[in-house]
Symmetry: C2
Subunit: 372 residues, 2 copies
């Protein structure tokens, strides 16, 4: 056997405090080194059943169609739109950050008539704004909202919005990529008809297997479609048959990523949902207090601030990129820069899953103190 | 920390000799336990550059747009159709197995006018048949063919077909899911305009990161599209920007799966392409001789038989499912049953990547001898 001209993987021990991926729990990394078994092996089907049961607990739903998409968070986002939309369907998309714009792009690719409602990046929508928009566009049946905007750090309350939408026989699509596992999501109690997430944030799992759940009402709508879902890989009528009792082969499941998600869900249930949310809250509060004591300003109002992702304004006169580079090169800490409207204006600091630790907060605050 | 009601992952040590996934090389499994780094970390970008350089060598192409789709093999298949097709485009799809039918389903979802050409499952197409079909459908510019049909074990020669298609200014889409890494693919020499594969077969990588390459001509066609690619996640104009020098964020890369693919590509180049193809050929020949000496009949003519996947006819009077169950339960060996037209008629035996080993062939032959 000859020597490869390409070096083996040898990466620095990064402390991932950016918008994602967050650090995977070591138990999750270990689970991925489990040898493969087949995607129709009876032992794998048991794992899938257990994974589904755990996902329902973590997403707080009884929806039978609750599963993991074989792709990263953007794939589960696209699964929501691809399945719920047919050409000329009218949709209202609420934009208060980068991912609202992504929703628009996706919905348009499926031929939907897109109406938008916008507030500045970092703010959230009031129920009355949604109500007014629905009144202005009476044919809208689907409303898409980001619960946790990774680009701004804003947490959008959903309960009242869901009620308004349901009163008009509509459907709520909720993006919980940066909340699930770190902040209460309560799919059934809130009434999120299609709720998706990603593994790489507060679930402490590498990107590549992404939870999604559809309410029975959403599934009825999909079954009543006039056209096939315009996306083969993400067609939930077929994926659901593989995850359901039929076990019809659709595509080969990403075995190792499913091992990873399985172990990350076990870790969440061991810790307990309430404990986990509290840990995320407490570590975020330490971060917020520490940043403010360094004289910095948090971008999002405290009432709507996500514990999983904090946006902090870059102090006057600071070279934001130089600071991020120094954090990475000298301290092995990754944080994120701003996106879109907030580019150059904020840093994004994630405290998600395994990354949400008191010691990480202390280290980052000390490093920032030394650099600023 | 409380005890989880869900057991930890503890799977049997399967010997995977089915149609996929094949066994991942232990070095690949180990690579996946590497801690995560960010998808825009300079160290990750170096890994991506190296991965791309290795992919080009393994796919035998100079195409700048050569990368891994963040999904399983079916996602890279869909990426080919989603990017190359616009509504009302005419396409010729050659069906000689299950995956030809899947291509038809995908192409229709993108609004294409689909013409099909069929031969019995297990046979291959002669160039004259393609020529006749192109003459009958003069507006066809895209022809899709499966190089290695996982459902039948047939290897489709592509050189002459590619020439015919190019003579009409057309494009060849080639499915090499079950050939790449085990059988020569020679993308540039043959002239496959869009060539895709999966990790979980002869690359010895778990499913979840899937190679694809587009010729410069194919990329020109995509850039000249009248409509956006009707699939956001698989839009190669955006994915290519992330893999290219722009490094524009599209979706979060599946870090651990990229580690896995990286290591699997290193292993292939260490072994050497020619050596690897020869290993696959030799082990397949041992299998074929052994099956015939057990009195069994191989389904595909020797001239077109894939070394990576063998279909063998189920002997008269044998309960095929009972044999597969006994192989799995008593010997920990997975082989596959037939799909579609071949359901109940053949077994499918994969000898791919790390699974293609003399000892696996010997064990399977002995087990079959004991069971039949």
């Amino acid at each position: 056997m000859s020597v490869s001209p390409f070096p083996e993987i040898n990466v620095s021990p990064r402390i991932l405090l950016g918008p994602g991926p967050s650090m995977a729990d070591p138990r999750v990394l270990k689970a991925m080194s489990t040898p493969l078994i087949g995607h129709l092996d009876p032992e794998f089907l048991v794992l899938m059943n257990n994974m589904q049961a755990m996902l329902k607990q973590v997403m707080q739903t009884e929806n039978p169609i609750t599963l993991a998409i074989a792709g990263t968070g953007s794939a589960s986002m696209e699964a929501a739109f691809a399945n719920m939309l047919e050409p000329d369907d009218e949709i209202l998309i609420c934009i208060n950050g980068y991912f609202g714009h992504r929703m628009v792009d996706m919905a348009q690719r499926y031929g939907a008539v897109v109406h938008t409602l916008s507030v500045p990046w970092g703010e959230v929508f009031q129920p009355q704004q949604i109500e007014d928009a629905l009144r202005a566009h009476p044919n809208v049946r689907i409303v898409a909202v980001v619960h946790a905007e990774t680009s701004t750090g804003a947490r959008q309350p959903l309960d009242e919005i869901a009620q308004l939408i349901h009163a008009r026989d509509g459907y709520l699509i909720g993006d919980t990529v940066t909340s699930l596992g770190g902040v209460a999501v309560r799919v059934d109690e809130v009434g999120i008809d299609v709720c998706y997430s990603g593994g790489q944030k507060a679930l402490s799992c590498p990107p590549g297997a992404s939870p999604i759940t559809f309410s029975p009402r959403a599934i009825e709508r999909i079954k009543a479609r006039q056209n096939k879902v315009a996306n083969w890989y993400l067609d939930v009528t077929m994926i659901g048959s593989y995850w359901g009792s039929e076990r019809t082969y659709h595509h080969t499941a990403p075995i190792s990523m499913n091992y990873a998600l399985y172990e990350s869900l076990r870790l969440i249930l061991e810790e307990g949902l309430e404990n986990r949310w509290q840990r995320h809250r407490e570590n975020a509060q330490h971060l917020w207090a520490g940043l403010e004591s360094l004289g910095m300003t948090l971008h999002v109002h405290e009432d709507y601030r996500l514990p999983t992702l904090t946006t902090v304004r870059i102090p006057e006169g600071v070279d934001e990129l130089a600071v991020r580079k120094a954090l990475l090169n000298d301290y092995n800490i990754e944080i994120g820069g701003g996106l879109g409207e907030l580019k150059g204006k904020v840093w994004r600091i994630g405290l998600m899953g395994f990354s949400s630790r008191r010691e990480n907060v202390a280290l980052l605050l000390k490093a920032l103190q030394e650099l600023l």
